[in-house]
Symmetry: C2
Subunit: 492 residues, 2 copies
């Protein structure tokens, strides 16, 4: 397999590769920048197989560093910028990073973290001022078996583990995505998700595999995303539900242009009212179910099915196989069980964690821990994360189902549901709710709304009103964090 960036630089060197506030680069520019950064990393002693940690917000420089690591056969470790220095230090030590490259906003955290981890920290801005040392030329070929990155899973459900992603994982993911969404030679994919998460990194990989530009936003700004769709030729954007909600609110009644051909919606089950609003407004939203361990998308709803299968995450991507299993084996259509995934996009395992790898990868199948079912046509519906499952009086309660009802109330802006211990029922449902600005909604009103729509055991035993809900950088609700805060208001 030819080195993707090198091939694109040769084949379409004069075409846009990266469009960011800090740099507008063609593929030839990007190859030159990646080569320069490979030279600087090489001068810092980075050798093939070394781990290079990156603690940076989204930027053109981040993109260059990704390909510079590939150029040196080094392994990228993109770190979550919202981590505490102690957490960063733990991950640096866990992966044995040789160097940490950070941007200006992360200087203090980087210094603190590396002091503990015995790893050297370098400012990307300071390095950029240095002359480019001689470096090995970017390689002509890449080995699909080789590890490209270690990505620590988000930690919403336990101790972080570094999932290994190979070039082959990315290649097959890009192929599967292309076969499902199509690829147009006019495509521009917007990365407003963090590049340190798999959803953002996968956009960079697709860019060099497809030979198409990526538009990089430093952070998520709904007005800026809307403007990029209108004026910068963005045809596909990857978002999570809360981001899409804010985009629609910022947009008002103005329709999106026909050039926007897909809004890829990930980060967990989406509220049905949001999907219905998108359908009514003609927003081409396609739900996807993805995992770090699967190099992003596992299943994605084809655009043609967006209305017919509203709420579904669609069919598994072509090279991927999928099973729904219960304690007694494979389950029939309609039955909820654990989602198992197999195929060339799946991680070979977790760095230095043979037990965790063996637990996750059994008989060649990744056990995702997520719950879902397939309908009679084989479409996947993701119900919830298994670890968030609430069992109350022997009945299963899927938080997402309760959240969808809460979110359907016009005065509710955001909602999260957890189980809390209860002496009578084992667990009961507790809801955290963010009201719409200016709303005077009471807990009793909201509970009446729920009682009319949910089985008794699913109705929250308590509602806490909050100003905002804890979400990670990818927009995923941190249900664990909901358990630690003290309630502002509770019922009964």
């Amino acid at each position: 397999m030819p080195f993707w960036l090198g091939r694109q630089a040769a084949a379409r060197g004069d075409q846009w590769a990266v469009l960011a506030a800090g740099g507008r680069w063609t593929f030839a520019d990007l190859a030159r920048e990646a080569g320069a950064w490979a030279g600087r990393l090489h001068a810092l002693g980075v050798a093939p197989g070394d781990r290079v940690a990156v603690l940076m917000g989204n930027s053109a420089g981040f993109v260059a560093l990704v390909h510079a690591c590939s150029g040196l056969d080094a392994i990228l470790v993109p770190l979550n910028i919202r981590l505490s220095p102690a957490e960063i230090g733990w991950q640096l030590a866990d992966c044995g990073a040789r160097v940490l490259i950070h941007d200006g906003d992360r200087a203090a955290a980087a210094q603190h973290a590396t002091a503990e981890a015995g790893c050297r920290a370098y400012s990307v801005d300071a390095l950029a001022q240095t002359a480019v040392p001689a470096a090995p030329a970017l390689p002509a070929a890449i080995d699909l078996q080789q590890v490209q990155a270690v990505i620590y899973t988000s930690g919403t459900t336990g101790q972080p583990k570094g999932a290994l992603l190979t070039y082959g994982n990315h290649w097959w993911s890009a192929m599967g995505s292309a076969l499902n969404l199509g690829t147009h030679t006019t495509d521009r994919w917007l990365a407003c998700l963090p590049l340190f998460h798999v959803g953002g990194l996968a956009i960079l990989m697709r860019s060099v595999i497809y030979g198409l530009p990526v538009v990089v936003h430093e952070s998520f700004d709904p007005a800026a995303v809307n403007a990029a769709i209108d004026a910068d030729g963005v045809t596909i954007v990857s978002v999570v539900s809360t981001m899409l909600r804010r985009m629609l609110d910022a947009r008002g009644g103005t329709p999106y242009p026909a050039s926007l051909r897909a809004v890829l919606l990930g980060g967990g089950p989406a509220p049905r009212p949001l999907l219905e609003e998108c359908a009514a407004r003609g927003v081409p939203v396609v739900q996807t179910y993805g995992l770090t361990e699967a190099a992003s998308q596992v299943a994605t709803l084809a655009p043609a099915d967006a209305l017919r299968k509203l709420g579904s995450a669609g069919q598994p991507l072509l090279p991927t196989a999928l099973r729904i299993v219960g304690p007694a084996g494979d389950l029939p259509a309609g039955a909820v069980g654990e989602i198992l995934v197999q195929g060339p996009t799946i991680t070979p395992g977790y760095l230095g964690r043979p037990e965790a790898t063996a637990r996750a990868l059994r008989d060649g199948w990744l056990h995702t821990g997520d719950l879902g079912y397939r309908d009679a046509d084989g479409y996947l519906y993701v119900v919830d994360r298994r670890d968030d499952l609430i069992i109350s009086g022997g009945e299963n309660v899927y938080p997402a189902e309760v959240e969808a009802v809460l979110l359907a109330h016009p005065a509710v802006a955001d909602a999260g549901v957890i189980g809390i211990p209860d002496p009578q029922w084992g667990q009961v449902v507790q809801a955290a709710v963010v009201r719409q600005p200016g709303s005077t909604l009471t807990a009793e009103d909201l509970l009446s709304f729920c009682r009319a729509r949910l089985g008794r055991y699913k109705v929250p035993a308590a509602i806490r009103f909050m100003d905002t809900l804890p979400r990670n950088a990818a927009g995923k609700l941190l249900r664990r964090a909901l358990r630690t805060d003290s309630p502002e208001e509770a019922l009964p």
Copy 2:
């Protein structure tokens, strides 16, 4: 890898798969038809690994048989319907075919050929009337290493050899094509080339890999192709130069609709005047250089480069690598040499021909025998088939270059050039020319035209006017056949 047809039948069973005069099938229909034909072949004794020869014109039934063979792990041997019975018999014996399936028009040839080859012939129409016997279910998975078809190379340059094509060859070819041309969820690819050639078969493979319909025409009819583009939603069509010429002539001044997004032009170097006319008329023609041994496309001009690199076959497809070599090794940009190709689309070799395989595949590179060069930007220009190279007085003459000049004359409809022995110069150039209807062009006029545009040694020593030129079923000029006919008129 999931069995492509089965996966598409599950994922989009209700969407069109095959649109032909003899059948309009969804993917569910096609899976059912393929299953039925697998049952019939199984009842005829066809077992995994057996060769199933097919001697049929384009039809929906041909498509079903292709996938029926896959369903049985049998190997498809699509035969050229223009062969003589003796040639068919030779190929049947060479591949050890278990059965030959033929359509009505080929009944006599099939009976004659199988009598010699010790292989049984069956009429597809008679079989279709029989009840469907029980058969093994279509497989859930396919092995990319496994051979899907044996395709005999066209024989313009020697004894036919059966090139093995694996599922992996087709998969990577489809991926490379998708990355270059893009795939749109609205695509419909028209197969008016013979399905027994790799260019047609590859369309069928892309159809089940992409999950998009193929439109099948029984034979090439320029008015029918134009109508399919206007009314049947055809977005891509694969043709050779003479077909495109006839399409344009039949079309008159009516522009093609914007939904036609690519005319993939293969079958050898294209006349520059044709390309220029397409550019002027807004026909989205993209030249491709392909080979049976590479599962069709090797290099294809990206649509964005169609004007900027007129006459080029573009860049190699992404997983493919390409070299231009002379006797002393790799050649610099601009220098003409043999085209070598490497990558996952390349045949593992020729059936039962270890010497021919070793000659063609040396050090992991397919030696194509074709001549070309890359420009400074790396774009491939195919100059000619090596075996057609004329050497006159020590100077190399590439027939295609002379043909392009002849074709540029407004009174010339078709032209072919060969070398004939000459006592003084070794070889001299001889041209065969078809005049436009009603033209009174003389050889002397045409030679004057050539002298003004070609170096002296390239100007034909003789011109023969003919009614038509010998071409094979794929539209490729049979230069060898030009050598055997007696001239109608010669100069000097």
